[in-house]
Symmetry: none
Subunit: 352 residues, 2 copies
Amino acid sequence: VIKNIIGTNDLIEFLRGKRATFMLALSNTKTADIEGITQAGIPGKIYLTPTLDSEFLVCGEVRSLESIAETPKGVPTPALITRATHLLKPFSNIELLNLGIKVEPKVEHFNIHNFAITSSNAIDDNANIDSMDVFKKGLDFGQNFECKDDYLILAESVPSGTTTAAATALALGYDCKQMFSSSFKDVPSDIRNKTIEKALLNIKETDDIFSRVSKVSDNMLIFTAGFILGLNNQTKLILAGGTQMACVLLIVNSILKQMQGELETSNIALCTTKWVYEDEKSDIEGLLKLNDLKINAYYADFDFSLSEHPALKLYDEGEAKEGVGAGGALAYALLNGITKEELTKKVESFLS
Amino acid sequence: VIKNIIGTNDLIEFLRGKRATFMLALSNTKTADIEGITQAGIPGKIYLTPTLDSEFLVCGEVRSLESIAETPKGVPTPALITRATHLLKPFSNIELLNLGIKVEPKVEHFNIHNFAITSSNAIDDNANIDSMDVFKKGLDFGQNFECKDDYLILAESVPSGTTTAAATALALGYDCKQMFSSSFKDVPSDIRNKTIEKALLNIKETDDIFSRVSKVSDNMLIFTAGFILGLNNQTKLILAGGTQMACVLLIVNSILKQMQGELETSNIALCTTKWVYEDEKSDIEGLLKLNDLKINAYYADFDFSLSEHPALKLYDEGEAKEGVGAGGALAYALLNGITKEELTKKVESFLS
């Protein structure tokens, strides 16, 4: 079942049985190198996570390292969930967006869109993103985008992306300090908060939106904001993610307000996991309600209660929540008749 | 699951969830009339097998005879497997290629491409094929081919086709005497080998490629070699077959070498069954490795271990291995989320 966070269920019901392109946005920010800030990957090799996630998603194997990315506690990447969906009910197309990653995925045939964007600096030291350039590339890509299928599911793999998202929303003036999720159960608030606070110290009162995001954001957030504006509601779009995608929508909102522009959003929805929705340390609903734009938002009512596997149990205990479009993928699977049992078994098959 | 024989899995993974046209090449060679050379059909009516296979594939019933083609031992045609796939996850289009059959399938609506090719003579008596004509027709068809779907699965039904394939590869000078499969478990080596030896006696040292294949080959092999060259890697192509399709690729290789030509093959893959891959009396991997062209090759990891049906058990005992694109069809089914259980049940439903 798919449940509403805000809005109505018409859009997601319309997408039942429809064909989807799945697009995965990949980016590295040096913020992820700050010790203890994220557990989305292998310590010392966190930067490889988007590369490994995308290899596993499209080809079922990791090629740029011996084994799949998992956290120090042994939580496997949510890419397992998205891959399981793709095996049970394939996406019609999978494409990758290289938004500045250190190691390009070693895959053939699959379209990797390159935008000549370099990975960004740590936000506590000024991310130093050419935000206007990245934004314009997203805008262009959206304006020229032709969906081969009925709708687009846009997902991300950006280690420490919830930290950059929190800093971004705060830098844009949204009152959302406690609203951001983390891949940790025990959110490393000290490190995260210190990083965010230090990042925000770089912001000057006179900085405009683009100056602000260039200092404290990441490429995925900026590019995707541009992409949504470029797309201009012309393609049905599922933003497959949690608080990061909610932040993208806040960037869009800020830009529109400054420009006194408008955007029809009837074809845009956010779709995340139950783990994000139920997370007590973040508030996806609150983040969406800070937005002046009316965005439908959903979560896939899926957990690993049918599994006995200890690594998957960690999801239900809050150790991992979202990423690689897990929530959107689960919704796609459920919309196409795949059951919780089938999904659970398929994910388990990767771990045995 | 789909497994690699040689190459990488990128192409087959790219085809996951994609739409396919299934094309079945039909041909008769009088080689099949040699007593005991093949069990692909009803004794005395072996020539009907391609006709019956195609009728059953597209319409679910045989029309040019009372019952479906099965071997004297009762092994049902692999058309059952391809039909089961089509019922569980339909091909977007099925088209037939009449490459010289005695009885045209009695079907309406489905596109039967006619090329005015006549069925060929037995190879022990000179197959007597106008090989340049057949090749050019394949080349033309490939050059003008526009795939309506994301990719093409090309399959064959040619009784005694493994014998003509073996003779062809040997006539072209490939060192592959023990590498060819047969529909028999106990390969009737004497009859086969005598036929092949007799066929090769017709080859003169001075014969060029086209003279050689005109004497010892069959229309499907020659036409398909032309088709692949005409297609020129412009359409993603699954060659759905075992040693016969491997032979086609050896013909392509020989022609290219003689012409000092080149062919990009990134979009071509061979896909066969586990029965062919595991067959101890043939060597699909060896045949592919004799080729200078780099071709990805896969097999569908499917068998009838979930079935109790004695006629299907014969497959697992090696009595039938491939044909009517069974391997490619199984891969297509597995790529689209169909399970081994579902496939087994559907095939069983035709036999009860």
